[in-house]
């Protein structure tokens, strides 16, 4: 499975460094933080580092749902031409609007030099049996039709809230319908969003590692990939290995928590006072991030918590800078992806089970040394990961 950078605010030199070190295979730019006038140069610079890198731009059309909100944080989105207020009823009364938005978004992405294009779509906020869902399928069909006239590959966006994945019957019927289309997309840019993107002390959001949600996300990857549809998972972070085993072609993660887990509330300015996030270290054996300043203590208790990879040195007796922190995450994730079989799903599930079991033991080892902070949420997290594998296997009829 490939690993992509999920671009966002405060890029600095993270992506360039990631490419130079060969830690990432591509970049998913956030249109909100990339002005269209600067995009071509930005893309050109990265191609000079690695001409094979896959560079795409998330058009973030779903953010237009909040365009009229006084607290909307849309950055450069409105400069991208295709971006406009989303009123679902207008699409029903004027279906040609979908066509215009899809074409204009793809045109501008092509103009700025994206190597793979991502067609826009709406966010399915609650249910796969809704007007939003029907509209999303309409965007998808238009994307497929638009892709026939283009030389570059086009991914269709499928962006849904985790709640929409909880109804198995609707999910199965939705996937049946999508895979049964006479003209299917060649690829999908898939994001699964939570209702609140507030951090969870180094663990993925409990809304996402819920066994039903993760199993459903894996099932989407599996069903689409066996039908020849490439799946690029956005904001997948630590769940990337699970999605890779299920057949996903790529996962992605970035440097802030809102680049590690998707939520529509990222487009709304929060009134809460936010502290600068802590620097963290992604431990493969723990399957979680720990605070950088606790790293020495953790490793003293259980040396295996350190990944034994090059960027561990950035944590020796100091906190790393943000770029090093990001490189460490990509390095650890890339290694985790190598350790699971993404070609044989049965073997891949065994590999994931071993990883989870190792995490259980490693955390148990910390408990033995009376480190119990956050233990309940860790137990819950690992349990949900474990059960999600069973649930996925049942859904995928393996």
């Amino acid at each position: 499975m490939k690993l992509f950078a999920q671009h966002g605010y405060g890029k600095s030199d993270k992506i360039e460094s990631g490419l130079e070190e060969g830690l990432i295979d591509g970049v998913i730019f956030e249109a909100r933080y990339l002005h269209p006038d600067k995009a071509k140069d930005e893309i050109g610079c990265l191609q000079e580092i690695d001409e094979t890198v896959e560079l795409m731009i998330d058009p973030e059309y779903y953010a237009s749902a909040v365009i009229d909100s006084p607290n909307a944080q849309l950055g450069y989105l409105e400069d991208w031409g295709y971006f406009s207020p989303l009123r679902i009823i207008e699409f029903v009364t004027n279906p040609t609007r979908v066509d215009k938005i899809v074409h204009s978004s793809l045109d501008i992405q092509e103009d700025v030099g994206a190597t793979t294009l991502i067609a826009p779509s709406v966010y399915i906020s609650q249910s796969l049996d809704s007007m939003e869902s029907a509209l999303a399928l309409s965007f998808l069909r238009k994307a497929v039709s638009a892709s026939e006239k283009r030389s570059k590959k086009v991914l269709s966006t499928l962006s849904l809230n985790r709640d929409a994945l909880l109804n198995s019957k609707q999910l199965i019927e939705f996937v049946d319908a999508l895979t049964g289309m006479s003209k299917r997309p060649s690829g999908v840019y898939l994001t699964v969003g939570v209702n609140s993107s507030s951090g969870n002390n180094g663990l993925p959001s409990p809304e996402i590692f819920d066994l039903k949600v993760l199993a459903a996300w894996m099932y989407l990857n599996y069903a689409l990939s066996i039908n020849g549809i490439r799946v690029i998972n956005g904001f997948s972070d630590l769940l990337s290995p699970f999605l890779g085993v299920a057949g996903g072609d790529a996962g992605a993660t970035g440097w802030w928590s809102n680049l590690q887990c998707f939520s529509i509330d990222r487009y709304i300015r929060s009134e809460d006072i936010r502290r600068r996030p802590l620097r963290r270290y992604l431990s493969m054996k723990l399957m979680a991030r720990i605070n950088a300043r606790d790293m020495d203590a953790f490793v003293a208790l259980r040396p295996e918590i350190a990944n034994q990879l090059p960027h561990d040195r950035d944590y020796e007796e100091r906190e790393p800078d943000r770029t090093s922190e990001m490189l460490q995450t990509w390095e650890a994730l890339a290694k985790l992806l190598e350790s699971v079989d993404c070609k044989d799903v049965t073997q891949g599930i065994r590999d994931l089970s071993n990883i989870i079991e190792t995490a259980h033991k490693t955390w148990a080892g910390l408990r033995e040394r009376e480190f119990t902070q956050g233990q309940e949420s860790v137990d819950e997290y690992l349990e949900q990961l474990e059960y999600s594998l069973d649930e996925f296997q049942e859904m995928a009829e393996l």
Partner: protein, 293 residues
């Protein structure tokens, strides 16, 4: 079939027919061997319920038969039974109304009786059957149709090397009304090959050619092993449907380890409960199977 007419009266009612021999009946049809002109053809006769009641059922039957003959006329696939000389026509015998038409008479036996004799096919026969059915599925789907009744009883095994297997009977398949367990005219034999999605009340929006792929998978499994993958012994309707919806079949490779693994996995995938997990590209599988020939 209700109200099977006296054979002599039937001959007298259809002027083109000079000789008639009753063969069998099932569901809502009776089948005869008929001499029409100088040729022998299969004559299919359907009883129409009286006009005074169940007008819906009557008009649906007529529409179904006309649709069947229309598809047979339009689809040139050689592995689909050909229409005969007599196009659908209504007749009255006594107080009963019928509709009839003719098809080519195929020499050979239906696959069900071949399987019941204990035959377990070799890989060449299985591939031939698979490719035959897939070509029909593809061509019908290209016309916007789903066969919906692919099963051993609807496949004739002939000696003609160009047409080793021929599919019959689109008529029952087009519209499965509500898929109720007590559906008129439906037999358990038909349900055994129906995919899980056809038992849903929403079946009309769920059905596509992948439903035929499922039925093909079950048929191939049975031809390879001699047993049905989900209902190896006769059961009541409810148990049968329950097994079809919930039970996972044994893998074909466990029962026929002499068959190529690729073929076994092909059959297993055809029988997945969810359409999304079956094959979506018929041409692709045809190419893969042809390479195995």
């Amino acid at each position: 079939m209700e109200n099977v007419p006296d054979t002599q009266k039937l001959i007298e009612s259809i002027s083109e027919v000079s000789a008639l021999e009753f063969k069998n009946e099932g569901g809502f049809k009776a089948v005869y061997t008929a001499t029409i002109g100088e040729k022998k053809e299969a004559l299919k006769l359907v009883y129409l319920p009286p006009k005074s009641d169940t007008e819906d059922k009557r008009s649906q039957l007529i529409a179904r038969l006309k649709r069947e003959s229309n598809v047979l006329k339009l689809c040139s696939n050689p592995h689909l039974v050909k229409l005969g000389a007599l196009l659908p026509r209504e007749i009255q015998i006594g107080e009963c109304n019928y509709i009839f038409y003719s098809e080519e008479l195929l020499p050979g036996r239906d696959l069900k009786s071949v399987i019941n004799d204990g035959k377990k096919a070799d890989i060449a026969e299985l591939l031939q059957l698979a490719l035959t059915c897939l070509s029909v599925i593809r061509d019908l789907w290209g016309m916007g149709y789903v066969h919906r009744d692919i099963k051993p009883a609807n496949i004739i095994c002939t000696d003609d090397p160009e047409r080793l297997f021929v599919l019959l009977d689109l008529g029952i398949a087009f519209k499965i009304h509500g898929t109720q367990l007590t559906d008129h005219g439906q037999t358990i034999g038909t349900r055994l090959y129906m995919p899980p999605e056809l038992f849903s009340p929403d079946y009309k929006k769920l059905i596509d050619f992948r439903s035929d792929i499922y039925s093909l998978g079950v048929t191939l499994f049975e031809y390879a092993t001699g047993i049905h993958p989900l209902v190896p012994r006769p059961q009541n309707d409810f148990s049968t449907v329950y097994q079809i919806i919930t039970k996972q079949p044994d893998k074909l490779e466990n029962l026929r380890d002499d068959l190529p693994l690729q073929f076994c996995r092909f059959v297993d995938r055809c029988m997945r409960k969810k359409p999304a997990l079956r094959y979506a590209e018929v041409d692709e599988i045809i190419n893969q199977l042809e390479e195995m020939l």
